[in-house]
């Protein structure tokens, strides 16, 4: 592989695969996609069309061609980079990655979008596991910049990160694998307490959601938790924060809940979300989210680094 990716193979043409394809195509990179179901092509192309319109709003109007095949060997022929987006099932992914590894010319990189599985498990049947990385995006990948990378060969990781940077993504490299990588672990930790507050009847689902997106969530679109506390520490910064408020942070941790997700809690959450949605369909809410993400991404480009 040369240092520039000219051809991306997208394996699995569902929503995540289509989003990757739209992003690469908008950056002028040719995309060849595979899905075992030939009928997936219609939805795949429809998603790409919508995503390309969004990306055009961000000024991304590249002309990478997009082809589709229900035969795995076709897109892998001559591909510089493979983004795999198969089902989140360990056995299925392990087999799929081994097949890709066998068919793909040596030197090309294979990246798995897996969110829930760890790299060591899914590369187990590959002949050349060192060229396989996890590269986990956030939904929708063509808008949310994060890509979490886990690999074994530092050179492969560096080349993969460079590729995602050319797609305008923000790669984050894990030093070692961890179930849920980084961001979903942070999200899961926050969600546990959100469920606890519902379980305890502290506030409505809608108000708990509003507390996040009108409070810390707004700041977290700009900076992470460590930097946030650095600015919350006054003149002493994070060192002052930890010295003075570290003990109260630890006490707070001890007071956090360990809710169950039993039927009673699930019923409360489902009813609360229905109330919050106020009759808007998932498609309407997704459109609003994407509209919002586009507006935020445009806004962030105006802010100095």
């Amino acid at each position: 592989m040369s240092d520039t990716v000219k051809s991306l193979a997208v394996v699995g043409a569902g929503m995540i695969g289509a989003s990757w394809a739209a992003l690469a195509s908008a950056h002028g990179i040719g995309v060849s996609a595979y899905d075992p179901n030939p009928e997936a092509e219609v939805g795949f192309r429809r998603y790409i069309e919508r995503a390309r319109a969004q990306l055009a709003e961000l000024g991304l109007t590249g002309a990478g061609t997009v082809s589709f095949s229900a035969d795995l060997a076709t897109p892998l022929e001559g591909a510089d980079f493979v983004q795999e987006n198969g089902p989140e099932n360990e056995a299925v992914k392990r087999k799929l990655l081994a097949e890709i590894d066998e068919l793909l010319p040596p030197g090309a990189i294979i990246a798995s979008s897996t969110s829930a599985l760890v790299r060591s498990a899914i590369v187990a049947d590959c002949a050349r596991p060192e060229r396989v990385v996890v590269a986990h995006p956030f939904n929708p990948p063509h808008l949310v910049p994060l890509v979490e990378i886990v690999g074994a060969d530092p050179e492969v990781v560096t080349r993969a990160a460079a590729f995602y940077r050319t797609l305008g993504r923000r790669p984050v490299v894990l030093n070692r694998e961890m179930p849920g990588h980084i961001a979903n672990r942070l999200a899961s930790a926050l969600y546990r307490e959100a469920v606890h507050l519902v379980e305890q009847g502290v506030a409505s689902v809608a108000d708990i959601d509003a507390a996040l997106c009108n409070g810390p969530g707004l700041r977290w679109a700009l900076m992470g938790p460590h930097m946030t506390y650095h600015l919350g520490g006054g003149e002493g910064g994070i060192a002052g924060y930890l010295a003075h408020l570290g003990p109260s942070q630890v006490r707070r941790w001890q007071s956090l809940g360990s809710p169950s997700l039993d039927m009673d809690v699930q019923t409360k959450i489902v009813a609360g979300v229905a109330e919050e949605a106020g009759g808007r369909s998932i498609a309407e809410l997704e459109a609003r989210r994407d509209e919002g993400l586009l507006a935020l991404l445009k806004a962030r480009t105006l802010v100095s680094e």
Copy 2:
């Protein structure tokens, strides 16, 4: 008190008090401030000047006058609403709220900005505790919309929430008090896992921060965790999500860390934040945060509800 607040007394003229004063003044509400330290006035007025320039960018150019006194009785005379921003010390706040309650005409509401204390403890010495609410803002209150309200009298809570709405804030009402209210508990839960990932060497402080603000943090500036999973559940929404992925969410919760904040971890965090800050001072980082918040707030006004 009439339904419209014409005069706000700000007790405690530090950063939070000054931010409240700037916000009210920009909405055309007269502000009378108190701080026991007469020298606090200079910093108070300097903060307001800077905050008013930011609020002007959001189109808020009201002409509420701002006065300052080192005598508590002065600002309370004729005030419709008091925002207390004293030190986060239970004994100090309890005494201060009791003094305000004694001096303030009946009917006017007293709101405490406390982040760490619970209402029942700090109203203990008040003659009319029912008119005292917790109204906890997020820093900086003139930019971040969230106000978390805890009260005992529903009518007082309703009136307080209505006042914050006139200031363009998003009040969230807790059904019962909880240490850390809602948002800081969510932040604390997330931070525990962020510290765990540092402790375990999974990634650098800067990369953990980047994973949040380029991933879930970006989405959380638009919607809370429940709505996020509603959109992550496909056609089945949150009910489908909980039914299919609830068990894996619970397993994830069980895998989250319980780090300590010992000196070794603190040293890693402080060094990591210094690297992330890259020589930028806290003042520079704060200016960038506020610039970013302004841009995000403007962007959010463009997004349909």
